[in-house]
Structure formats: C-alpha cells, structure tokens
Symmetry: C2
Subunit: 325 residues, 2 copies
C-alpha cells in the first residue's frame, strides 16, 4: 500500500491490545476491535492484523471487508483464516513464521525427556512423599518422526538431534539428504513408517490434507511403547481415537499442547488418562512472545507502507508459507 | 592377581544379586553377602565387589579383610568406602566411571526444561482439570555453572551446550579453553561466581573439600531466579540451608536426586516445598544399568586376573579418578 492518506488498520484483539504499537499508531489509523465489532472495523480498512490468533471470527465479518488488501496473523498456523472467501481472493496473507520455533523445540525435547525419565510419576510420588526408585529410559538413539517440515518442525529436529536422538521428517514429498531431517518420508506413506519410531511429533499445518491425519489406523501402526506429541493443531488428531489408543495401551503416552476444542472441556477424558501430559496451548509462548509478535508485524507493516515485498507470505492454496519463501 | 588357585571374590549385594555373573563364577569363588555377613565373606577374600554401592558397611567389616588387594564399587562416587583404613592402605580401589554420564546428562537437561516450561505446574493444573495459559522461559542462552568437572559433569556440559545453553565449569583449579566447559572457575571462588548463573548443577565428588559446599552463603550468592540441581551427593548440600533459601525465595527452585539421608525421610520439608522436584536417586539408572555395571566390573576382573592395569583407578587421597586416567 503506497499512498498519501494514512492507511486504516483493523486489529482483532479483544480486551488485550497488542503491546508496542506506538510506532504503527503514528502512521496509521488503528481500529482495535473484538469479535463483535470486527465487521464495523473492517469496513473501509486497508489491512487486518489478527492479533487474537485463535479467533475464527474473521470469516463471519469478511463481508464487510470492502478494501482490505493484506491480512497478517500473529501465529504460525493460518487455519483460523483459511475460509474460501479469503483463500480465493487476491488479498495477501502473512503469518508469524519463526517466532515460536525454538521455544516449541525446547518444549518438545522437555516432554520427551519427561517421558523417558518418568518425571510426571516422580512428581506424583513426591506429592505422596513416596520414595520409589525406578529405572528410566535413555533418549540417545531413540527414533523420532517429526510430521511437518516447516520451520517449527526443523527447529524440533535440530534440537532433538543435538540431544542425541535419531530424527526423520514427514512432509508432502519424500526426499533424502535434507539438512535438518536427513530422510523425509511422504505423508501418504505415514502408516508404513510409523512402526519404526519411538516418538511421533505432530507439527504439520492444519489443511484439508492433514485434518484427522492421526486417527485409529495411525495409533494402531505405532509401536506399543511409542509416545505421541502434538504441538501443531488439535484437529490433526481424531481425539476419540487417541483416547481409545491410550486407554487400550496401543501407545504408551501423549504430550498434548493443542486440542480439537480449546480450552479442553472439563469432561474430556484426556485430563485424567495416565501417561498424558496436558499443557494449555503454550508451548511456544516464551516471556516476551507478544512483543516479538508485534515486531514481526511491524516489520511487515513498514514493508507494506513502503511497497516492499512482504515477508512470510502464505500460499493460500497450500495453507502455509512454502519453504524457501 | 596372578596365580593358579581360583581367587576368592566377595560381593556385597544384599538380596539382589548382580546379573550376568556366570563368567566370573566360572573363574572365581564368589561369596555373595549382605551387610551382616560381610566380615565373614571378607576373611580370606582376594577382592571385594561393592555392588550395593550405597552401603557404608565396608568400614565396619574391614578388620576381617586379611588379604583383599582390590575393591571395586558399582558407582561413580566412592565416598561410601572412603574410610581411613582403606584410603591409607595399598589396596587398589576402582569405580564405575562412565556408566551413568549420559543418562544423568539427559536427566539434568530434562529438569532444566521442566523448570523453564513450568511443567510441574502444568501437571498440577492437569490434575485439577484447569486450563491456565502461562508464559514460559527459554533455555537458549541461559547460563549454567556445573560444579564438578569429572566425566558426569562433562557429559552434562556437552548436553546443555548442545541444547543451546551457556555452560561453565567449576573444579579444583581455574583454567580456560577446556574442551567441554570453556571456562573452568576454581571452587575456592564459588561465591564470587554464583551471582552470574541461572542454573547451578552440583555433580562434584563428595570429599572433605566439597562436603557442605552449598550452604547459606552459596544460596545467598545465587540470583533470586536461579535454580539448583543436585545429581552428585546429598552431603554436598546443607539441607537446612537449602530449605530456608527455598522458603525465603532466595532461589527459585531445586531439582534434587540425592539427599543427605536416603530415602528422604517422610517429615523432610523438601517433599512439599513449591518449585522443588524430587527423584529417588535414579537420575543415572537407565534400564540395563545393572548389566552395564557388571560389564564394567567384569572387564576389570579379567584385567585383574591376567595382571593387566585396572581401569578407573581411584586416587584415594583425592577421592575420585583423576581426569586422563
């Protein structure tokens, strides 16, 4: 957007405004809004910053977007704004690729070691003041399949390899010699490869192809000692099938940071299943993440105002930023 | 020991005999004993295998050791057999250096990430089915002081560095350019250096010099956000001072695998303090560790029978195996 008028920027954020917006407010008319006011805020706006990145309200208010040219979302996953009217328009969509990568990688390594060292059980025994020695597992040499070869999956692969694990990837196309994964298997062959892994980490973008990828057949194909980690999206998993696989001992455990419904409802059996670690969609959210998210937006905002190419442009047909872009 | 007679080997093991002893039983008279029978077993024995490595019974039975030439202990720490009569004799003492290094390193990385990602709190909230988003910490770039530069300390340093942390060591003598630590500070300067670290890991051997090293002055010197990890020996710490430091918020947390008294008594306040992770002296004990311990002993036993130099010979005046040996 290049022009003499100040652009109008709608910011979907609810009660919690993004920090560090002074510089942007100095050069744009900024309309902060919650979901209810979104249609009004979109009318006449040139750009939309989806700061409340879990909201799915954009689809319902999009009819009012009469001149929006650019939408930026403060997350890596763009599935909340992947509705047909936006996807099939020529509105540019950008995301916050890169902000969460290393923090999520630390989290994934942490839950894997927690499983190997039986840390949750130690905490439970500690609560009961019970001293009970157990043997633990090593992580060195254990095989991990990282499903999703975007920047977060790559950061996870690098971290787990550095800690001595053996890591492969799974993406749309099979290939060898990948710099982070070595071997990348094709997702079409998921069931063939699952028996060979001790840990399976889901971090794929949510698309029509990946929705429900982890269903009963996938859990049945994993070894009984395998643990499943989901830091992607809850909808990658058929939750009922995961619950059944855990209950039946088809897999040995799961660490879940994302869920089909968030917050996870009180009556969901995942809360109380043994060998399940639940965290409330926070694996990437290190102290300072909100400032970093605004920095990423502000960088793109400046590019947009000066007519330079935006960073992290989503291929809306794929549903993510293609690698190398 | 070279001779035509089968040597006599006393094995202090209580009810749980070491595994995989067939080969040794074929070439030696093996006397398995518990603490009560130890003196009888030692009388006429040529060597002693302290498989029950936490037992302190050897000192009390040593008067009966009329021809023991070699003592091997199934642990890295040799403090349970560091009584004057053995220390000042010419009996050779060997340990199980190397068995636990990488497993303990994994454990230390795991508890550090558990602190950074608030994992214990997630488990507590999960128990109450409570969804509460929090911001977490990064581990990348955080500064760790590893007190103890033996093989376990080195494995910890390599692992934490691989995961992106900034690590220094602390040993008897200050030096630079160490291959695992970079900078090594002198333990005499402990209090001067503690303010500069986010995590302090105790893994020094227990000697007269290190006993009670972590007392009130040390905890006072750490930053308020620091966490303390002990995978060495409980006696490195003045427990009452640690409890007070945790209660007063002088430090932010502790992960403890070893204690002055083990099992940790029911009424010890450490069980219930917030931000304390307790595990029952198991950080190195991966599945298969007992077999590995016997492998290490068997290797030395074969060397001993054939008159070759033993591995892992302890400098009994120092109280550990000097590096490079």
């Amino acid at each position: 957007m290049i022009g003499t008028e100040s652009p109008v920027l709608a910011v979907l954020c609810g009660d919690r405004h993004p920090p560090d917006m002074d510089h942007i407010e100095a050069t744009a008319k900024v309309r902060y809004t919650d979901e209810r006011g979104l249609a009004d805020a979109l009318r006449g706006a040139d750009a939309l910053f989806v700061y409340d990145f879990l909201s799915t309200a954009v689809a319902g208010a999009w009819h009012a977007a009469d001149r929006v040219r650019w939408v930026h979302i403060a997350s890596a996953g763009v599935d909340p704004v992947m509705f047909p009217a936006l996807r099939d328009s020529d509105v540019v969509l950008t995301n916050s690729r890169g902000v969460f990568d290393d923090s999520i990688a630390e989290y994934v390594l942490g839950v894997i070691i927690a499983f190997a060292k039986d840390l949750a059980r130690s905490i439970e025994l500690q609560r009961r003041r019970e001293w009970r020695h157990r043997e633990s597992e090593r992580i060195a040499g254990r095989r991990v399949l990282v499903v999703g070869t975007g920047p977060i999956g790559r950061a996870i692969a690098r971290m787990l390899r550095a800690a001595g694990m053996s890591v492969s990837g799974m993406g749309r196309r099979a290939r060898s010699g990948d710099e982070d994964f070595g071997e990348v298997h094709a997702s079409a062959d998921l069931l063939d490869h699952l028996p060979g892994y001790d840990y399976v980490v889901a971090v794929a973008p949510l698309t029509d192809q990946t929705k429900g990828l982890f269903a009963a057949d996938a859990f049945a194909a994993m070894p009984a000692h395998a643990r499943f980690v989901n830091v992607g999206r809850g909808e990658l998993v058929v939750t009922a099938d995961l619950v059944k696989a855990l209950r039946d001992g088809r897999i040995a455990g799961a660490a879940l940071d994302v869920f089909e419904t968030e917050p996870l409802p009180d009556d969901n059996p995942l809360w109380t299943l043994e060998n399940v670690l639940i965290s409330p969609h926070m694996s990437g959210d290190f102290a300072g993440w909100r400032n970093t998210l605004v920095e990423v937006f502000a960088e793109n905002f400046q590019r947009w105002q000066t007519g330079r190419p935006l960073r992290n442009v989503v291929d809306k047909q794929l549903g993510y930023v293609p690698s190398g872009h």
